[in-house]
């Protein structure tokens, strides 16, 4: 037989590959969160008379809030189809270490939804008149913050996976938990715009990421087990 035994690494790669295959099977999976990010951000200037400088000063907030919403909305589908078709049962019943499989699944999802957000963020900076010295802190913040947001959103998704159509419920669970990331993330830019050193805030963001990487998978696995009763 041509059977090749796989170590943990290879088996995680298979999970990652599956996640990416699902993403490229419909280009919308990558493009839509981006478009949401751009469209939702431009709703704010449209909805009121804003002085261009005021707009610039609230730009970090707008970008971070819409990034949070985009991550959360796109995360909604993470476990849903697996739950509906029963694949989640197969995952939970497999003899593999779930912690890593779940982690890799979230990170795979972040690669196709979170990372592109980071890439187009500067464009939004242009649209929203973000001052020049805000771009680098914005990007650093997003790179460190969006994976944390993805992990938090994944907990919410896992908790609500058995519930029919839970977009709003998900938001209600996830948004409060994400507030620290939002505060520090937007805080990095604000601090930089005020000419203060940003290293401290960035360290806080990094700490949140480490925390999420270590504990979120545990919560996710527990939540999935509860739902697959």
């Amino acid at each position: 037989m041509s059977r090749v035994a796989l170590g943990l690494g290879a088996s995680l790669r298979a999970t990652l590959r599956r996640e990416l295959q699902l993403a490229i099977s419909s280009p919308g999976k990558i493009v839509n969160p981006l478009m949401f990010f751009v469209i939702a951000s431009s709703l704010f200037p449209l909805s009121g008379r804003l002085d261009i400088d005021v707009l610039g000063s609230i730009a970090p907030g707008i970008i971070w809030v819409t990034a949070l919403l985009a991550v959360m909305l796109s995360m909604e589908s993470l476990f849903r189809s697996d739950y509906d078709d029963g694949s989640l049962e197969q995952l939970l019943l497999s003899p593999q270490p779930l912690y890593f499989h779940v982690l890799i699944k979230v990170l795979g999802h972040w690669l196709v939804t979170g990372l592109p957000l980071v890439v187009v963020a500067p464009l939004l900076g242009l649209l929203l008149n973000l001052p020049a010295q805000g771009y680098v802190p914005l990007l650093i913040g997003l790179v460190l913050g969006t994976p944390t947001l993805s992990l938090i959103a994944a907990i919410g998704t896992a908790l609500t996976v058995a519930l029919a159509r839970s977009g709003v419920l998900l938001a209600v669970l996830v948004l409060p938990l994400s507030i620290p990331v939002l505060v520090f993330g937007a805080g990095v830019v604000d601090t930089a715009l005020n000419g203060l050193p940003v290293a401290g805030v960035i360290a806080l963001l990094a700490a949140l990421l480490v925390l999420a990487l270590s504990f979120a998978p545990l919560a996710i696995v527990a939540a999935l087990r509860i739902n697959v009763q």
Binding site: M1, R3, S11, A14, L22, D84, S87, L93, S94, P95
Partner: protein, 209 residues
């Protein structure tokens, strides 16, 4: 292999079964029978470790199941009402992931499993383009790939055509004959060479007794 002692489960107000005790030996083929709503699915999910809402004891090879979880899961293949087939992926991609979760990779085996299950030529077609029965076949192709000893199958004959049903009957008999064990539910009369043990939940129910 799997032995059950004093198993009881109630849902809401109703006792589905109580004092259930049996042992599934290697080489045996079990059919769980019962009217609609008698608790077959519930029982199978309890046995598979997917439902923790019961009292009683499950033992795998003499050890309590929940204590030897990984080992038990290695020996178990479960298939529920839902086919566990991702509709956007192709059968090949679906089964590759299944194999990886079992810890191996073997495209040749996947292709031959698909052929065996009447899906020659469908390996690379997204599953949403398949009929109900074809999707069920993708799902069942796993039977040719898993090395699990114990199969727990909840209404596996759903949506299969006559040829498919006969093949699956032969397959479970062969597995039992080769020293495996199969527990399944179905509402249609099973036709197998292998001796069949029937567990009738209707007869067991307290109000029926």
């Amino acid at each position: 292999m799997l032995s059950v002692a004093n198993l009881a489960c109630e849902r809401d107000e109703r006792v589905l079964f109580a004092n259930l005790a049996f042992t599934v030996a290697a080489g045996s083929l079990w059919q769980v029978q019962g009217a609609n709503g008698s608790g077959k699915t519930t029982l199978l999910r309890i046995l598979a470790g997917l439902n923790g809402d019961y009292s009683g004891e499950l033992q795998w090879q003499g050890k309590v199941c929940s204590e030897v979880r990984t080992e038990y899961q290695q020996a178990l293949f479960f298939l529920g009402h839902a086919p566990s087939v991702n509709r956007t992926l192709t059968p090949l991609q679906n089964l590759r992931w299944f194999c990886a979760l079992q810890g191996f990779a073997d495209d040749a085996a996947i292709h031959s499993a698909l052929n065996e299950h009447g899906l020659r030529g469908y390996a690379d077609i997204p599953c949403y383009q398949m009929s109900a029965g074809q999707q069920r076949r993708v799902s069942l192709a796993r039977l040719s790939l898993t090395s699990a000893k114990l199969w727990i199958l909840d209404e596996p004959f759903t949506a299969l055509d006559r040829v498919g049903v006969a093949e699956l009957e032969a397959r479970v008999s062969r597995h039992a004959a080769a020293g495996g064990a199969v527990i399944l539910t179905t509402h249609h009369p099973l036709q197998t060479q292998h001796p069949l043990t029937v567990l009738n939940l209707d007869a067991l129910r307290p109000e029926a007794a």
